[in-house]
Protein backbone atom coordinates (compact mmCIF):
# COMPACT_ATOMS: atom_id res chain seq x y z
CA UNK A 1 0.00 0.00 0.00
CA UNK A 2 1.23 3.47 -0.82
CA UNK A 3 2.03 5.48 2.23
CA UNK A 4 0.75 9.02 1.71
CA UNK A 5 1.90 9.93 5.18
CA UNK A 6 5.37 9.84 3.71
CA UNK A 7 4.65 12.80 1.48
CA UNK A 8 4.35 15.09 4.46
CA UNK A 9 7.78 14.03 5.68
CA UNK A 10 9.49 14.33 2.33
CA UNK A 11 8.88 18.06 2.09
CA UNK A 12 11.73 20.42 2.72
CA UNK A 13 10.97 23.63 4.56
CA UNK A 14 12.97 26.78 5.01
CA UNK A 15 11.36 28.37 8.02
CA UNK A 16 7.69 28.26 7.30
CA UNK A 17 8.12 28.10 3.54
CA UNK A 18 7.97 24.87 1.64
CA UNK A 19 10.89 25.12 -0.75
CA UNK A 20 10.36 22.05 -2.81
CA UNK A 21 8.76 18.69 -2.59
CA UNK A 22 11.37 16.02 -2.72
CA UNK A 23 8.71 13.79 -4.11
CA UNK A 24 7.24 15.87 -6.92
CA UNK A 25 4.90 13.20 -8.06
CA UNK A 26 4.00 9.60 -7.34
CA UNK A 27 1.99 6.80 -8.84
CA UNK A 28 -0.96 5.35 -6.99
CA UNK A 29 -1.80 1.68 -6.57
CA UNK A 30 -4.14 1.76 -9.55
CA UNK A 31 -1.56 3.44 -11.74
CA UNK A 32 -2.71 7.08 -11.55
CA UNK A 33 0.05 9.68 -11.59
CA UNK A 34 -0.40 12.36 -8.98
CA UNK A 35 1.58 15.57 -9.48
CA UNK A 36 3.16 18.10 -7.14
CA UNK A 37 1.24 20.25 -4.66
CA UNK A 38 -0.81 22.92 -6.42
CA UNK A 39 -2.67 24.32 -3.44
CA UNK A 40 -1.82 24.27 0.18
CA UNK A 41 -3.87 25.46 3.12
CA UNK A 42 -1.73 26.33 6.13
CA UNK A 43 -3.25 26.62 9.60
CA UNK A 44 -6.53 28.08 8.37
CA UNK A 45 -8.84 29.45 11.05
CA UNK A 46 -12.19 30.97 10.12
CA UNK A 47 -14.53 32.61 12.61
CA UNK A 48 -18.02 33.98 12.30
CA UNK A 49 -18.37 36.25 15.28
CA UNK A 50 -17.60 33.97 18.19
CA UNK A 51 -18.12 30.74 16.28
CA UNK A 52 -15.08 28.99 14.90
CA UNK A 53 -16.16 27.30 11.68
CA UNK A 54 -12.65 26.13 10.85
CA UNK A 55 -10.03 25.53 13.50
CA UNK A 56 -6.39 25.53 12.48
CA UNK A 57 -6.65 23.22 9.49
CA UNK A 58 -3.81 22.42 7.11
CA UNK A 59 -3.89 20.22 4.05
CA UNK A 60 -2.77 20.26 0.45
CA UNK A 61 -4.14 19.47 -2.97
CA UNK A 62 -1.90 17.82 -5.56
CA UNK A 63 -2.02 18.26 -9.28
CA UNK A 64 -4.21 15.77 -11.09
CA UNK A 65 -5.77 14.20 -8.02
CA UNK A 66 -9.33 14.00 -6.83
CA UNK A 67 -9.26 15.34 -3.31
CA UNK A 68 -12.32 14.96 -1.15
CA UNK A 69 -13.30 16.88 1.96
CA UNK A 70 -15.83 14.93 3.96
CA UNK A 71 -17.48 15.25 7.29
CA UNK A 72 -20.89 15.31 8.96
CA UNK A 73 -23.25 18.27 8.52
CA UNK A 74 -21.89 21.48 9.99
CA UNK A 75 -18.32 20.21 10.02
CA UNK A 76 -17.09 23.27 8.11
CA UNK A 77 -16.60 21.61 4.72
CA UNK A 78 -18.43 24.27 2.73
CA UNK A 79 -16.66 26.99 4.67
CA UNK A 80 -13.37 25.42 3.66
CA UNK A 81 -14.38 25.41 0.00
CA UNK A 82 -15.43 29.03 0.32
CA UNK A 83 -12.03 29.89 1.74
CA UNK A 84 -10.33 28.24 -1.25
CA UNK A 85 -12.58 30.05 -3.73
CA UNK A 86 -12.26 33.41 -1.99
CA UNK A 87 -15.86 33.78 -0.83
CA UNK A 88 -14.64 33.75 2.78
CA UNK A 89 -11.42 35.28 4.02
CA UNK A 90 -9.92 33.34 6.94
CA UNK A 91 -8.82 35.26 10.04
CA UNK A 92 -5.68 33.20 10.40
CA UNK A 93 -3.57 31.02 8.17
CA UNK A 94 -2.18 31.14 4.68
CA UNK A 95 -3.37 29.93 1.33
CA UNK A 96 -0.62 28.86 -1.04
CA UNK A 97 -1.40 28.46 -4.70
CA UNK A 98 0.99 27.42 -7.45
CA UNK A 99 3.95 27.81 -5.15
CA UNK A 100 3.22 31.34 -3.98
CA UNK A 101 1.31 32.76 -1.05
CA UNK A 102 -2.03 34.07 -2.19
CA UNK A 103 -2.95 37.47 -0.80
CA UNK A 104 -6.58 37.96 0.32
CA UNK A 105 -8.60 37.97 -2.87
CA UNK A 106 -12.10 38.58 -4.15
CA UNK A 107 -13.90 35.53 -5.55
CA UNK A 108 -13.74 36.87 -9.10
CA UNK A 109 -9.97 37.24 -8.85
CA UNK A 110 -9.68 33.67 -7.62
CA UNK A 111 -11.75 32.57 -10.62
CA UNK A 112 -9.43 34.49 -12.92
CA UNK A 113 -6.53 32.53 -11.45
CA UNK A 114 -7.95 29.30 -12.78
CA UNK A 115 -10.08 28.06 -9.91
CA UNK A 116 -13.64 27.23 -10.93
CA UNK A 117 -16.40 26.04 -8.65
CA UNK A 118 -19.95 24.82 -8.38
CA UNK A 119 -22.35 25.53 -5.55
CA UNK A 120 -24.24 23.31 -3.15
CA UNK A 121 -27.55 24.91 -4.03
CA UNK A 122 -26.83 25.59 -7.69
CA UNK A 123 -26.04 29.12 -8.83
CA UNK A 124 -26.86 29.18 -12.53
CA UNK A 125 -28.00 32.04 -14.72
CA UNK A 126 -31.65 31.01 -14.76
CA UNK A 127 -32.65 33.43 -17.48
CA UNK A 128 -30.08 32.15 -19.97
CA UNK A 129 -29.95 29.05 -22.13
CA UNK A 130 -27.65 26.17 -21.30
CA UNK A 131 -25.22 27.23 -24.01
CA UNK A 132 -25.14 30.84 -22.77
CA UNK A 133 -24.49 29.57 -19.25
CA UNK A 134 -21.58 27.48 -20.43
CA UNK A 135 -20.29 30.43 -22.48
CA UNK A 136 -20.13 32.61 -19.36
CA UNK A 137 -17.61 30.09 -18.11
CA UNK A 138 -15.38 31.33 -20.94
CA UNK A 139 -15.44 34.92 -19.67
CA UNK A 140 -12.02 34.64 -18.06
CA UNK A 141 -10.62 33.57 -21.42
CA UNK A 142 -12.13 36.43 -23.40
CA UNK A 143 -9.35 38.91 -23.92
CA UNK A 144 -10.73 41.50 -26.27
CA UNK A 145 -12.46 44.41 -24.55
CA UNK A 146 -15.22 46.76 -25.71
CA UNK A 147 -13.04 48.97 -27.85
CA UNK A 148 -10.93 46.35 -29.55
CA UNK A 149 -14.10 44.42 -30.18
CA UNK A 150 -15.44 47.26 -32.27
CA UNK A 151 -12.07 48.04 -33.84
CA UNK A 152 -10.79 44.55 -34.56
CA UNK A 153 -13.90 42.76 -35.60
CA UNK A 154 -11.96 39.85 -37.08
CA UNK A 155 -10.03 39.08 -33.93
CA UNK A 156 -13.14 39.29 -31.77
CA UNK A 157 -14.95 36.92 -34.10
CA UNK A 158 -12.09 34.43 -34.10
CA UNK A 159 -12.01 34.52 -30.31
CA UNK A 160 -15.77 34.03 -30.15
CA UNK A 161 -15.52 30.99 -32.42
CA UNK A 162 -12.72 29.48 -30.34
CA UNK A 163 -14.66 29.99 -27.12
CA UNK A 164 -17.75 28.55 -28.70
CA UNK A 165 -15.80 25.44 -29.74
CA UNK A 166 -14.58 24.83 -26.21
CA UNK A 167 -18.11 25.29 -24.87
CA UNK A 168 -19.55 22.87 -27.42
CA UNK A 169 -16.87 20.30 -26.67
CA UNK A 170 -17.75 20.39 -22.98
CA UNK A 171 -21.47 20.24 -23.73
CA UNK A 172 -20.81 17.11 -25.81
CA UNK A 173 -18.61 15.66 -23.13
CA UNK A 174 -21.26 16.02 -20.45
CA UNK A 175 -23.97 14.76 -22.79
CA UNK A 176 -26.21 17.79 -22.64
CA UNK A 177 -26.34 18.55 -26.39
CA UNK A 178 -30.08 17.89 -26.44
CA UNK A 179 -30.79 20.77 -24.07
CA UNK A 180 -28.21 23.30 -25.22
CA UNK A 181 -30.84 25.88 -26.24
CA UNK A 182 -33.20 25.23 -23.32
CA UNK A 183 -33.54 27.97 -20.69
CA UNK A 184 -31.93 26.69 -17.53
CA UNK A 185 -34.96 27.54 -15.41
CA UNK A 186 -36.90 24.75 -17.15
CA UNK A 187 -34.42 21.98 -16.36
CA UNK A 188 -34.81 19.40 -13.63
CA UNK A 189 -32.44 19.47 -10.67
CA UNK A 190 -30.07 16.75 -11.82
CA UNK A 191 -29.48 18.36 -15.19
CA UNK A 192 -28.95 21.76 -13.60
CA UNK A 193 -26.15 20.26 -11.55
CA UNK A 194 -24.61 18.98 -14.76
CA UNK A 195 -24.92 22.36 -16.49
CA UNK A 196 -23.22 23.98 -13.54
CA UNK A 197 -20.39 21.48 -13.88
CA UNK A 198 -20.21 22.30 -17.60
CA UNK A 199 -19.95 26.02 -16.89
CA UNK A 200 -17.15 25.45 -14.38
CA UNK A 201 -15.33 23.20 -16.85
CA UNK A 202 -15.67 25.73 -19.66
CA UNK A 203 -13.22 27.90 -17.75
CA UNK A 204 -10.65 25.12 -18.29
CA UNK A 205 -9.70 25.44 -14.63
CA UNK A 206 -6.50 24.27 -13.06
CA UNK A 207 -8.46 23.43 -9.94
CA UNK A 208 -12.13 22.52 -9.94
CA UNK A 209 -14.08 22.83 -6.70
CA UNK A 210 -17.32 20.89 -6.40
CA UNK A 211 -19.60 21.66 -3.48
CA UNK A 212 -21.70 18.56 -2.84
CA UNK A 213 -22.00 17.59 -6.52
CA UNK A 214 -24.32 14.73 -5.64
CA UNK A 215 -26.54 16.31 -3.02
CA UNK A 216 -30.21 15.60 -3.57
CA UNK A 217 -29.65 13.13 -6.39
CA UNK A 218 -31.06 9.66 -6.82
CA UNK A 219 -28.79 6.64 -7.19
CA UNK A 220 -28.77 6.74 -10.96
CA UNK A 221 -27.94 10.44 -11.12
CA UNK A 222 -25.22 9.92 -8.52
CA UNK A 223 -23.64 7.23 -10.68
CA UNK A 224 -23.77 9.50 -13.71
CA UNK A 225 -22.18 12.33 -11.81
CA UNK A 226 -19.43 10.10 -10.40
CA UNK A 227 -18.67 8.91 -13.91
CA UNK A 228 -18.46 12.50 -15.19
CA UNK A 229 -16.17 13.54 -12.37
CA UNK A 230 -13.82 10.64 -13.07
CA UNK A 231 -13.97 11.28 -16.82
CA UNK A 232 -13.22 14.98 -16.40
CA UNK A 233 -10.24 14.17 -14.23
CA UNK A 234 -9.10 11.54 -16.70
CA UNK A 235 -9.72 13.39 -19.95
CA UNK A 236 -8.72 16.96 -19.08
CA UNK A 237 -6.37 16.14 -16.20
CA UNK A 238 -8.27 18.64 -14.04
CA UNK A 239 -7.43 18.67 -10.37
CA UNK A 240 -10.66 18.28 -8.45
CA UNK A 241 -11.48 19.06 -4.85
CA UNK A 242 -14.95 18.01 -3.81
CA UNK A 243 -17.13 18.07 -0.77
CA UNK A 244 -19.49 15.28 -0.01
CA UNK A 245 -21.10 13.79 3.03
CA UNK A 246 -21.98 10.51 1.38
CA UNK A 247 -18.99 8.40 2.47
CA UNK A 248 -19.60 5.58 -0.01
CA UNK A 249 -19.40 7.75 -3.11
CA UNK A 250 -16.32 9.57 -1.91
CA UNK A 251 -14.34 6.47 -1.13
CA UNK A 252 -14.74 5.15 -4.66
CA UNK A 253 -13.98 8.46 -6.27
CA UNK A 254 -11.11 10.13 -4.53
CA UNK A 255 -7.38 9.68 -4.27
CA UNK A 256 -7.05 11.33 -0.89
CA UNK A 257 -9.58 12.41 1.68
CA UNK A 258 -9.62 15.10 4.37
CA UNK A 259 -12.10 14.41 7.14
CA UNK A 260 -13.50 17.31 9.12
CA UNK A 261 -15.64 17.34 12.23
CA UNK A 262 -16.71 20.37 14.26
CA UNK A 263 -14.32 22.55 12.25
CA UNK A 264 -11.31 20.37 13.00
CA UNK A 265 -9.35 18.01 10.78
CA UNK A 266 -9.64 14.53 12.19
CA UNK A 267 -8.20 12.53 9.34
CA UNK A 268 -6.21 12.86 6.13
CA UNK A 269 -5.06 10.15 3.77
CA UNK A 270 -6.15 7.58 1.23
CA UNK A 271 -9.73 6.35 1.44
CA UNK A 272 -8.45 3.13 2.94
CA UNK A 273 -6.51 4.90 5.67
CA UNK A 274 -9.37 7.19 6.47
CA UNK A 275 -11.84 4.34 6.64
CA UNK A 276 -9.76 2.67 9.33
CA UNK A 277 -9.15 5.83 11.32
CA UNK A 278 -10.80 5.46 14.74
CA UNK A 279 -11.60 9.17 15.10
CA UNK A 280 -13.33 9.17 11.72
CA UNK A 281 -15.37 6.12 12.59
CA UNK A 282 -16.40 7.78 15.84
CA UNK A 283 -17.41 10.99 14.09
CA UNK A 284 -19.57 9.15 11.63
CA UNK A 285 -21.11 6.74 14.09
CA UNK A 286 -21.70 9.50 16.59
CA UNK A 287 -19.56 8.86 19.61
CA UNK A 288 -20.09 11.57 22.19
CA UNK A 289 -17.42 14.27 22.27
CA UNK A 290 -15.98 14.66 25.70
Amino acid sequence: MHDTGGIENNRRYEGNVCVKDQVDSYVTEDGRTIGPVVMEMKNITLRFGGVEAIKDISFDIREGEIRAIIGPNGAGKSSMLNVISGFYVPQEGEVWYKGARRPPMKPFQVAQQGIARTFQNIALFEGMSVLDNVMTGRLTHMKTGIFSQTLWKGRAEREEIENREVAEKIIDFLEIQAIRKTPVSRLPYGLKKRVELARALAAEPLLLLLDEPMAGMNVEEKEDMSRFILDVNDEFGTTIALIEHDMGVVMDLSDRVVVMDYGKKIGDGTPHEVRNNQEVIDAYLGVSHD
Binding site: S85, F87, K106, P107, F108, Q109, A111, Q112, A116, R117, T118, F119, A123, L124, F125, E126, G127, M128, M135, T136, G137, L139, T140, M142, T144, G145, I146, Q149, E160, R199, A200, A203
Partner: protein
Protein backbone atom coordinates in the same frame (compact mmCIF):
# COMPACT_ATOMS: atom_id res chain seq x y z
CA UNK B 1 -58.19 61.88 -46.76
CA UNK B 2 -60.78 62.94 -44.18
CA UNK B 3 -59.61 65.74 -41.94
CA UNK B 4 -60.32 63.91 -38.66
CA UNK B 5 -58.31 60.83 -39.69
CA UNK B 6 -55.40 62.96 -40.81
CA UNK B 7 -55.38 64.80 -37.48
CA UNK B 8 -55.50 61.51 -35.62
CA UNK B 9 -52.52 60.19 -37.54
CA UNK B 10 -50.58 63.35 -36.81
CA UNK B 11 -51.38 63.09 -33.12
CA UNK B 12 -50.33 59.46 -33.22
CA UNK B 13 -46.98 60.34 -34.76
CA UNK B 14 -46.37 63.11 -32.24
CA UNK B 15 -47.27 60.66 -29.50
CA UNK B 16 -44.66 58.23 -30.80
CA UNK B 17 -42.06 60.97 -30.64
CA UNK B 18 -42.96 61.91 -27.07
CA UNK B 19 -42.90 58.21 -26.25
CA UNK B 20 -39.31 57.95 -27.41
CA UNK B 21 -38.27 60.40 -24.71
CA UNK B 22 -40.18 58.53 -22.02
CA UNK B 23 -38.59 55.33 -23.24
CA UNK B 24 -35.10 56.81 -22.98
CA UNK B 25 -35.61 57.75 -19.35
CA UNK B 26 -37.15 54.38 -18.55
CA UNK B 27 -34.20 52.67 -20.20
CA UNK B 28 -31.83 54.20 -17.67
CA UNK B 29 -33.95 52.77 -14.85
CA UNK B 30 -34.04 49.31 -16.39
CA UNK B 31 -30.27 49.12 -16.90
CA UNK B 32 -29.48 49.77 -13.26
CA UNK B 33 -32.40 47.80 -11.87
CA UNK B 34 -31.52 44.68 -13.84
CA UNK B 35 -27.87 44.63 -12.90
CA UNK B 36 -28.10 45.60 -9.25
CA UNK B 37 -31.70 45.51 -8.09
CA UNK B 38 -31.49 49.21 -7.30
CA UNK B 39 -34.48 51.31 -8.26
CA UNK B 40 -32.68 54.50 -9.15
CA UNK B 41 -34.88 57.41 -8.19
CA UNK B 42 -32.02 59.72 -9.22
CA UNK B 43 -32.29 58.82 -12.91
CA UNK B 44 -34.22 62.02 -13.70
CA UNK B 45 -31.76 64.17 -11.78
CA UNK B 46 -28.95 62.44 -13.64
CA UNK B 47 -30.56 63.59 -16.89
CA UNK B 48 -30.73 67.12 -15.49
CA UNK B 49 -27.16 66.95 -14.24
CA UNK B 50 -25.93 65.67 -17.60
CA UNK B 51 -27.78 68.35 -19.55
CA UNK B 52 -26.52 71.11 -17.24
CA UNK B 53 -22.97 69.85 -17.47
CA UNK B 54 -23.21 69.75 -21.24
CA UNK B 55 -24.53 73.31 -21.47
CA UNK B 56 -22.01 74.49 -18.90
CA UNK B 57 -19.08 73.00 -20.82
CA UNK B 58 -20.42 74.26 -24.14
CA UNK B 59 -20.69 77.80 -22.88
CA UNK B 60 -17.32 77.68 -21.18
CA UNK B 61 -18.80 78.23 -17.73
CA UNK B 62 -16.49 77.88 -14.74
CA UNK B 63 -17.79 75.02 -12.57
CA UNK B 64 -18.53 75.98 -8.96
CA UNK B 65 -18.12 79.63 -9.96
CA UNK B 66 -20.30 80.93 -7.13
CA UNK B 67 -18.47 78.86 -4.57
CA UNK B 68 -15.05 79.93 -5.84
CA UNK B 69 -16.05 83.57 -5.92
CA UNK B 70 -17.51 83.40 -2.43
CA UNK B 71 -14.40 81.83 -0.96
CA UNK B 72 -11.66 83.68 -2.79
CA UNK B 73 -13.50 86.93 -3.37
CA UNK B 74 -12.87 86.63 -7.09
CA UNK B 75 -15.34 87.31 -9.84
CA UNK B 76 -14.93 84.54 -12.41
CA UNK B 77 -17.87 83.15 -14.29
CA UNK B 78 -16.69 82.14 -17.73
CA UNK B 79 -13.50 80.86 -19.27
CA UNK B 80 -14.28 83.00 -22.26
CA UNK B 81 -14.40 80.22 -24.79
CA UNK B 82 -17.11 78.00 -26.14
CA UNK B 83 -16.65 74.33 -26.79
CA UNK B 84 -17.74 72.44 -29.89
CA UNK B 85 -20.84 70.28 -29.24
CA UNK B 86 -19.10 66.99 -29.96
CA UNK B 87 -16.22 67.78 -27.63
CA UNK B 88 -18.66 68.97 -24.98
CA UNK B 89 -20.68 65.74 -25.28
CA UNK B 90 -17.51 63.66 -25.00
CA UNK B 91 -16.45 65.60 -21.89
CA UNK B 92 -19.89 65.19 -20.36
CA UNK B 93 -19.69 61.45 -20.92
CA UNK B 94 -16.40 61.47 -19.01
CA UNK B 95 -18.08 63.39 -16.18
CA UNK B 96 -20.95 60.88 -16.11
CA UNK B 97 -18.49 57.98 -15.89
CA UNK B 98 -16.79 59.79 -13.02
CA UNK B 99 -20.16 60.19 -11.36
CA UNK B 100 -20.86 56.47 -11.83
CA UNK B 101 -17.57 55.62 -10.18
CA UNK B 102 -18.21 57.99 -7.28
CA UNK B 103 -21.73 56.68 -6.71
CA UNK B 104 -20.46 53.12 -6.60
CA UNK B 105 -17.39 53.91 -4.53
CA UNK B 106 -18.97 56.15 -1.91
CA UNK B 107 -22.55 54.90 -1.70
CA UNK B 108 -23.47 51.50 -3.04
CA UNK B 109 -20.24 49.69 -2.28
CA UNK B 110 -21.11 50.16 1.37
CA UNK B 111 -24.67 48.95 0.90
CA UNK B 112 -24.05 45.61 -0.80
CA UNK B 113 -26.54 43.02 0.40
CA UNK B 114 -28.89 45.57 1.95
CA UNK B 115 -32.62 45.42 1.42
CA UNK B 116 -34.16 46.97 -1.67
CA UNK B 117 -35.91 49.67 0.32
CA UNK B 118 -32.62 50.84 1.82
CA UNK B 119 -31.03 51.03 -1.61
CA UNK B 120 -34.05 52.97 -2.83
CA UNK B 121 -33.77 55.43 0.05
CA UNK B 122 -30.10 55.87 -0.83
CA UNK B 123 -31.04 56.82 -4.39
CA UNK B 124 -33.53 59.40 -3.09
CA UNK B 125 -30.73 60.92 -1.05
CA UNK B 126 -28.50 60.74 -4.10
CA UNK B 127 -31.13 62.54 -6.18
CA UNK B 128 -31.26 65.53 -3.85
CA UNK B 129 -27.51 65.60 -3.36
CA UNK B 130 -26.95 65.55 -7.11
CA UNK B 131 -29.52 68.27 -7.62
CA UNK B 132 -27.67 70.41 -5.12
CA UNK B 133 -24.31 69.69 -6.71
CA UNK B 134 -25.70 70.53 -10.15
CA UNK B 135 -27.00 73.83 -8.80
CA UNK B 136 -23.72 74.64 -7.11
CA UNK B 137 -21.68 73.69 -10.16
CA UNK B 138 -23.58 75.41 -12.91
CA UNK B 139 -26.11 77.78 -11.30
CA UNK B 140 -29.86 77.40 -11.31
CA UNK B 141 -31.02 79.69 -14.09
CA UNK B 142 -32.84 78.33 -17.12
CA UNK B 143 -30.48 77.66 -20.00
CA UNK B 144 -31.11 77.05 -23.64
CA UNK B 145 -29.57 73.91 -25.04
CA UNK B 146 -28.77 73.91 -28.72
CA UNK B 147 -26.66 71.05 -29.95
CA UNK B 148 -27.46 71.88 -33.56
CA UNK B 149 -26.12 75.42 -33.56
CA UNK B 150 -24.47 75.55 -36.95
CA UNK B 151 -22.45 72.44 -36.25
CA UNK B 152 -24.48 69.97 -38.20
CA UNK B 153 -25.43 67.57 -35.42
CA UNK B 154 -29.02 67.92 -36.53
CA UNK B 155 -30.69 66.82 -39.70
CA UNK B 156 -30.94 69.32 -42.52
CA UNK B 157 -33.42 72.01 -41.54
CA UNK B 158 -35.53 71.32 -44.59
CA UNK B 159 -36.50 67.79 -43.51
CA UNK B 160 -39.74 68.61 -41.72
CA UNK B 161 -40.91 70.92 -44.48
CA UNK B 162 -40.04 68.19 -46.97
CA UNK B 163 -42.20 65.72 -45.01
CA UNK B 164 -44.91 68.35 -44.84
CA UNK B 165 -44.89 68.90 -48.62
CA UNK B 166 -44.60 65.27 -49.68
CA UNK B 167 -47.42 64.13 -47.45
CA UNK B 168 -49.51 67.06 -48.66
CA UNK B 169 -49.02 65.99 -52.26
CA UNK B 170 -49.76 62.32 -51.59
CA UNK B 171 -52.58 62.51 -49.03
CA UNK B 172 -53.78 66.03 -49.48
CA UNK B 173 -52.79 66.79 -45.90
CA UNK B 174 -49.36 67.89 -44.76
CA UNK B 175 -48.10 66.28 -41.56
CA UNK B 176 -46.02 68.42 -39.30
CA UNK B 177 -43.30 66.65 -37.36
CA UNK B 178 -40.73 68.52 -35.37
CA UNK B 179 -37.18 68.18 -36.63
CA UNK B 180 -35.93 67.55 -33.13
CA UNK B 181 -38.37 64.69 -32.69
CA UNK B 182 -37.01 62.96 -35.76
CA UNK B 183 -33.46 63.33 -34.49
CA UNK B 184 -34.50 62.06 -31.06
CA UNK B 185 -36.11 58.97 -32.56
CA UNK B 186 -33.11 58.15 -34.70
CA UNK B 187 -30.69 58.65 -31.81
CA UNK B 188 -32.88 56.56 -29.50
CA UNK B 189 -33.10 53.77 -32.06
CA UNK B 190 -29.33 53.73 -32.51
CA UNK B 191 -28.85 53.80 -28.75
CA UNK B 192 -31.16 50.85 -28.15
CA UNK B 193 -29.68 48.76 -30.96
CA UNK B 194 -26.22 49.62 -29.65
CA UNK B 195 -27.12 48.61 -26.10
CA UNK B 196 -28.65 45.33 -27.19
CA UNK B 197 -25.63 44.49 -29.35
CA UNK B 198 -23.36 45.42 -26.47
CA UNK B 199 -25.23 43.15 -24.06
CA UNK B 200 -25.38 40.26 -26.50
CA UNK B 201 -22.00 40.20 -28.16
CA UNK B 202 -19.30 41.78 -26.03
CA UNK B 203 -17.43 40.33 -23.11
CA UNK B 204 -18.56 43.12 -20.82
CA UNK B 205 -22.13 42.75 -22.06
CA UNK B 206 -22.09 39.05 -21.24
CA UNK B 207 -20.67 39.80 -17.83
CA UNK B 208 -23.39 42.41 -17.36
CA UNK B 209 -26.11 39.90 -18.16
CA UNK B 210 -24.46 37.42 -15.83
CA UNK B 211 -24.50 39.92 -12.95
CA UNK B 212 -28.12 40.79 -13.74
CA UNK B 213 -29.03 37.14 -13.40
CA UNK B 214 -27.10 35.87 -10.37
CA UNK B 215 -24.41 37.67 -8.36
CA UNK B 216 -22.86 34.61 -6.78
CA UNK B 217 -22.64 32.72 -10.05
CA UNK B 218 -21.19 35.78 -11.77
CA UNK B 219 -18.45 35.97 -9.15
CA UNK B 220 -17.63 32.32 -9.65
CA UNK B 221 -17.01 32.81 -13.37
CA UNK B 222 -14.62 35.67 -12.68
CA UNK B 223 -16.82 38.75 -13.04
CA UNK B 224 -16.11 41.73 -10.82
CA UNK B 225 -19.45 42.99 -9.51
CA UNK B 226 -17.95 46.36 -8.70
CA UNK B 227 -16.74 46.88 -12.25
CA UNK B 228 -20.08 45.86 -13.75
CA UNK B 229 -21.97 48.19 -11.40
CA UNK B 230 -19.78 51.11 -12.39
CA UNK B 231 -20.36 50.09 -15.99
CA UNK B 232 -24.16 50.06 -15.72
CA UNK B 233 -24.19 53.37 -13.83
CA UNK B 234 -22.04 54.80 -16.62
CA UNK B 235 -24.39 53.45 -19.26
CA UNK B 236 -27.36 54.82 -17.34
CA UNK B 237 -25.50 58.14 -17.12
CA UNK B 238 -25.00 58.08 -20.88
CA UNK B 239 -28.67 57.30 -21.49
CA UNK B 240 -29.54 60.12 -19.08
CA UNK B 241 -27.34 62.45 -21.08
CA UNK B 242 -29.14 61.56 -24.30
CA UNK B 243 -32.53 62.01 -22.64
CA UNK B 244 -31.33 65.25 -21.08
CA UNK B 245 -30.19 66.60 -24.44
CA UNK B 246 -33.47 65.75 -26.14
CA UNK B 247 -35.65 67.05 -23.37
CA UNK B 248 -33.47 70.07 -22.75
CA UNK B 249 -33.47 71.02 -26.42
CA UNK B 250 -37.26 70.90 -26.33
CA UNK B 251 -38.02 72.88 -23.23
CA UNK B 252 -34.73 74.27 -21.97
CA UNK B 253 -32.46 72.97 -19.23
CA UNK B 254 -34.16 73.69 -15.93
CA UNK B 255 -34.82 71.89 -12.69
CA UNK B 256 -38.20 70.57 -13.75
CA UNK B 257 -36.22 68.30 -16.08
CA UNK B 258 -35.56 66.03 -13.11
CA UNK B 259 -39.30 65.36 -12.89
CA UNK B 260 -39.26 63.33 -16.10
CA UNK B 261 -38.26 60.49 -13.81
CA UNK B 262 -41.85 60.46 -12.55
CA UNK B 263 -43.10 60.14 -16.11
CA UNK B 264 -40.90 57.09 -16.54
CA UNK B 265 -42.60 55.27 -13.66
CA UNK B 266 -45.80 54.37 -15.57
CA UNK B 267 -43.63 53.37 -18.51
CA UNK B 268 -41.86 50.89 -16.24
CA UNK B 269 -45.16 49.55 -14.90
CA UNK B 270 -46.18 48.81 -18.45
CA UNK B 271 -42.92 47.53 -19.83
CA UNK B 272 -41.71 45.73 -16.75
CA UNK B 273 -38.71 46.76 -14.69
CA UNK B 274 -36.35 44.25 -16.21
CA UNK B 275 -36.92 44.47 -19.94
CA UNK B 276 -35.11 46.79 -22.35
CA UNK B 277 -37.64 46.21 -25.19
CA UNK B 278 -40.32 46.66 -22.53
CA UNK B 279 -39.03 50.13 -21.71
CA UNK B 280 -39.16 51.09 -25.38
CA UNK B 281 -42.60 49.67 -26.13
CA UNK B 282 -43.95 50.94 -22.80
CA UNK B 283 -42.65 54.42 -23.56
CA UNK B 284 -44.24 54.43 -26.99
CA UNK B 285 -47.58 53.14 -25.68
CA UNK B 286 -47.70 55.82 -22.99
CA UNK B 287 -46.63 58.53 -25.43
CA UNK B 288 -49.17 57.57 -28.08
CA UNK B 289 -51.84 56.66 -25.54
CA UNK B 290 -51.82 59.98 -23.70
CA UNK B 291 -51.80 62.06 -26.90
CA UNK B 292 -54.58 60.05 -28.58
CA UNK B 293 -56.66 59.90 -25.41
CA UNK B 294 -56.38 63.66 -25.01
CA UNK B 295 -57.27 64.24 -28.66
CA UNK B 296 -60.13 61.77 -29.03
CA UNK B 297 -61.70 61.62 -25.57
CA UNK B 298 -60.04 64.03 -23.15
CA UNK B 299 -60.41 67.33 -25.01
CA UNK B 300 -63.92 66.81 -26.44
CA UNK B 301 -65.57 65.08 -23.47
CA UNK B 302 -63.54 65.52 -20.29
CA UNK B 303 -62.52 69.11 -20.48
CA UNK B 304 -58.90 68.37 -21.44
CA UNK B 305 -55.67 68.17 -19.43
CA UNK B 306 -55.90 64.39 -19.35
CA UNK B 307 -52.24 64.08 -20.35
CA UNK B 308 -51.27 64.72 -16.75
CA UNK B 309 -52.92 61.65 -15.34
CA UNK B 310 -53.58 59.27 -18.23
CA UNK B 311 -50.22 57.51 -17.93
CA UNK B 312 -50.68 56.87 -14.20
CA UNK B 313 -54.19 55.53 -14.69
CA UNK B 314 -52.94 53.13 -17.34
CA UNK B 315 -50.15 52.05 -14.98
CA UNK B 316 -52.71 51.42 -12.24
CA UNK B 317 -54.73 49.20 -14.55
CA UNK B 318 -51.61 47.26 -15.40
CA UNK B 319 -50.73 46.85 -11.74
CA UNK B 320 -54.12 45.28 -11.15
CA UNK B 321 -54.25 42.97 -14.15
CA UNK B 322 -50.67 42.32 -15.16
CA UNK B 323 -48.31 43.33 -12.37
CA UNK B 324 -45.18 42.08 -14.13
CA UNK B 325 -45.82 44.40 -17.07
CA UNK B 326 -45.85 43.47 -20.72
CA UNK B 327 -42.37 42.01 -20.89
CA UNK B 328 -41.27 41.61 -17.29
CA UNK B 329 -40.31 38.27 -15.87
CA UNK B 330 -43.36 36.43 -14.72
CA UNK B 331 -43.91 36.44 -11.00
CA UNK B 332 -44.34 32.88 -9.82
CA UNK B 333 -44.67 32.04 -6.17
CA UNK B 334 -43.66 28.53 -5.33
CA UNK B 335 -44.95 27.11 -2.14
Amino acid sequence: MPEQLAYTIEVFLNGLMAGVLYALVALGFVLIYKASGIFNYAQGVMALFAAMTLVGIQNGQVPFAHLINAIFGTDVHKFGWSVHSFVAIALTVVVMIGLAWAVQRFVFRHLVGQEAIILFMATIGLAYLLEGVADLMWGSELKALDVCAAEGVCLPQGLNSWIDETTFETFGYGFFIDNLDIVASIVAAILVVGLVMFAQYTKQGRAMRAVADDHQAALSVGVSLNFIWILVWSLAGFVALVAGIMWGAKSGVQFSLSLIALKALPVLMLGGFTSIPGAIVGGLIIGVGEKLFEFLIGAPFLGGATENWFAYMLALLFLVFRPQGLFGERIIERV
